[in-house]
Symmetry: D3
Subunit: 218 residues, 6 copies
Amino acid sequence: MSTDARILVVNPNSNEAVTAGLAEALAGYVLPGGPRIDCVTLREGPFNIETQADIESVVLPLARLVAHEKPTATVIACFSDPGVQGCREATRGPVFGMREAGILAALARADRFGIIAVQTRSIRRHLRAVREIGVTDRLAGDRALEITVADAAADDRAFARLVEVGRTLRDIDGAEALVLGCAGMARHRAPLEAELGVPIIEPVQAAVGMALGAILAR
Amino acid sequence: MSTDARILVVNPNSNEAVTAGLAEALAGYVLPGGPRIDCVTLREGPFNIETQADIESVVLPLARLVAHEKPTATVIACFSDPGVQGCREATRGPVFGMREAGILAALARADRFGIIAVQTRSIRRHLRAVREIGVTDRLAGDRALEITVADAAADDRAFARLVEVGRTLRDIDGAEALVLGCAGMARHRAPLEAELGVPIIEPVQAAVGMALGAILAR
Amino acid sequence: MSTDARILVVNPNSNEAVTAGLAEALAGYVLPGGPRIDCVTLREGPFNIETQADIESVVLPLARLVAHEKPTATVIACFSDPGVQGCREATRGPVFGMREAGILAALARADRFGIIAVQTRSIRRHLRAVREIGVTDRLAGDRALEITVADAAADDRAFARLVEVGRTLRDIDGAEALVLGCAGMARHRAPLEAELGVPIIEPVQAAVGMALGAILAR
Amino acid sequence: MSTDARILVVNPNSNEAVTAGLAEALAGYVLPGGPRIDCVTLREGPFNIETQADIESVVLPLARLVAHEKPTATVIACFSDPGVQGCREATRGPVFGMREAGILAALARADRFGIIAVQTRSIRRHLRAVREIGVTDRLAGDRALEITVADAAADDRAFARLVEVGRTLRDIDGAEALVLGCAGMARHRAPLEAELGVPIIEPVQAAVGMALGAILAR
Amino acid sequence: MSTDARILVVNPNSNEAVTAGLAEALAGYVLPGGPRIDCVTLREGPFNIETQADIESVVLPLARLVAHEKPTATVIACFSDPGVQGCREATRGPVFGMREAGILAALARADRFGIIAVQTRSIRRHLRAVREIGVTDRLAGDRALEITVADAAADDRAFARLVEVGRTLRDIDGAEALVLGCAGMARHRAPLEAELGVPIIEPVQAAVGMALGAILAR
Amino acid sequence: MSTDARILVVNPNSNEAVTAGLAEALAGYVLPGGPRIDCVTLREGPFNIETQADIESVVLPLARLVAHEKPTATVIACFSDPGVQGCREATRGPVFGMREAGILAALARADRFGIIAVQTRSIRRHLRAVREIGVTDRLAGDRALEITVADAAADDRAFARLVEVGRTLRDIDGAEALVLGCAGMARHRAPLEAELGVPIIEPVQAAVGMALGAILAR
């Protein structure tokens, strides 16, 4: 690792609160002697990424940002994984999408995994992504909290729903590890894991772990 | 992460030179403030792991070792991934097999990947593992160096064969990332990546990256 | 077939009552002029095989037994299929796992099949095995009796549960053949088939059929 | 098993020499106290089954034959598996297609299997069948002898080609078990297995083994 | 396209009312200067096609009809797709099965699709067909109206059931396009699409569209 | 079909010669009383679409164009299928990508298909697309002409290469239908089909056929 290595974690929406949450979620990954971890906001991004048009609107700006910043490694911190392919063409360093990294991390922990979606409407996109990775047969289930993204990041009621949905995925669907399907629920990871007794994957953390795995190699 | 976190990297064969090589390969992952990384030799292991009987002979000793050591995270550093399931039952922390971690890390870098086997006879085991993960359609090819494990770790001729086999996987089979199919080739990773221009995954490093991803979460 | 051909049916747990049940279940397969069928108990086995550690504890003893006995063909009579790979390396004759044989026999009878598990916790292992065989798309469902293994072998209440669970697999899940997910339910096979009108596969019998298919060839 | 149990092995073409060959291939499966094994010729069948029209021409006659004969179990002895579905509707007993049974028997012996076709043009049908079973990922290869069916049954040159093609499947394609892709090559099975050192499956024998597995159950 | 091009749409059952319904469903596809579209009844067909024997009884008559008529393109207008393979061998022009064409058309409109079956018992055949095409992972669900075929073609109650079942497929199963699983429901297509807001595929229309795609090429 | 129905065929690169070629390839699909077929050039497109950045640069302009034009149906006439998802969100009418439509049309004609790529480097994208559709097991092969796109549209040498590559796909790989992997080779379709004797799919024509199938329904 070069002494000025850094991991660029990009929030592709323009909501600065989300970016601040990323930095908080990743505080444990910042180590003396390790790479810098810069969490940045994509200024051109919409405030929320919800539609296919939202996803597509950030693809070129992300590639430009990465081409300009030249980070040692890049993490796209949105569960729709926008622009990963384009960013890979725009930079020499590795580029990780948080959804893909989260799913792969779950596969390394258990045979069958579940996804906790925020909204039902995003499940279709998740299923497509799982099929594209090729691991549909290992997906135990994908169930939605049916709360707003804002509520997902907040504390008490969201946690109760996480426990409820996670328990269904574990007990009815047979999931042995769970992926949090949104960038803003890191604070719930440890308590949820303690409550449910199965590995809970926070995908931005998983992506940063993979980035460390790639760039600490000599 | 607790202040005394540590990653136990177990060499399941009893060849101490292999264990020393692991420590060298992982030197970049030891960071101030980060978890200890302990590379240990399974004393009960055979000098080489080649047959199904060799694999099975280390399963129970590995589980006993892990149950006794209680590491924060465990990496099984043999490309046959012996005992991963049993170790997961024997400890609360995450357990990573290097073959599985290496393959998953490759999937996070490119669409189709290749495996560089040391010997042709191990390709069958690789294909089975890839099918069990569920990603056969993403395997571009698996080709063997056809050299001894000892030679694989040594320097010049092994590198020439790595370049030759890697080039075939890249150009004929269409592999966009390559996994080194043995624990002892870490020294060739960076030069091979420079030579071939595609990501080269050293699987023990990939597994340790995943372990960091799991245990640095707060 | 040589005149002293024999099929070794190994019960990998040390419960002699299970072994006696195997002999009873296989009585119809013992024919004048046909191979001997020896049902034996693995002395080193645990009384029950429930955990991954139980499975792994019998792998090496099974291989040693088979290497010593040199049977014409071997059947591993436990629905976890422990040690099949190792036994194949330890003997020249064919080695059949009952779970795999039962599933393959069901595939030869109908398009989609179901599995009747004894306990919910074993369903996860079944799903993994079905995926490893490669036929997840042909699995209609896997549902548990949720009774003890001892009760499964006993008579009346177990049968009522078998009918109930089997009917659900047939009518709700669309299973056209059913596999009994435990070595001790042979006595229920014929009455269940009569009750439900779909093929019921007793996996030890299926494995012995496959063994006959292999060793009666000249 | 009822005392008058019998397995009906139907040759769907009208070539009596093929039927005689079936009886010879199955001689080892006729045991005192076991089911009768009747090898019969479908009179309405064409002399050879080569085209899709040939296959379809025997479907209804096969169903009528089976409905009339009411065997305990039926084996369709043609590697195109004609009429298996219709026969299953026409009779209560189990109906086995030799191609499907041969492939399933190979899956019970090894991880990846190969098929030795007689003619290249039948490989396409084999691939479709393997995909319908669901096990394409376990097919190592399918290679043709490129000889006539008549030559396949004859002795010396056919065997030399079998060794040649089988060795390629084993060494280049990685097949660990081989299925003979035609009903008339049973005499080559044992010598080929001795020569190549991997299980050689004769599919009519495999189907009769499965039939025994089904009907010897009490 | 030659000036006397024509698409032969064959109703393989002998119910003339079904054939009349096909002509009505396809009226929009008859264009000045375009190919003739001839809807014909297979005289040899049974009044209903329900069993495997019914399906098989029409295979050879269909091939004879097509061989005699020599149409530019052929559509088999029965959701069991009987005789498609045989007809392809009997004619040089393209032959489309309505089930396959309907499913492929749905795949071109959305990521995951549903099938509205008339009767539960046909779902098994649908699942087999979807698996043979290779797209099981894209099937969101297959649910039955549980009405008679005659009622399906009639007006009011059938439509209410179509809305009910279609809504379940859309909302619970996540289907983003729906295939009508019977040749007689074309009149419901447009109102159902208006009601549910997702593409509704009438499979005979889809097959004729594919036929136009093939034969209008110069 | 409304009387002013029209199919918008968009060439996403800015090369007007390509658009003119599309109109010529589709001349046979323009029928009196049928929908208009408008071939248009995306002004914002690059002159060639080669890189991931090229693909992504046209996604938003395509969606804007479609939202503004409000065609009855849309065909994206570039074998990379750029912007199909976004266009589906931007318009109520069906949107077809030529690559996906060409592959689906091939699946309706034969069991296994091949793709004739222009350049080797695009094969990787094809393989990904085939996997996303879910039909990797039906792909017989994908081989490149290794000529320029300009040469592919020109006459004599390109045809010789098409015959050569197509013959290899048919005879070595077992393809029973072939998809032309570029929008500019329509003139070669009929002669190539005559030469090789298997269906040759021109994907823009296939997409327009699917569009007719969708919009001629009443």
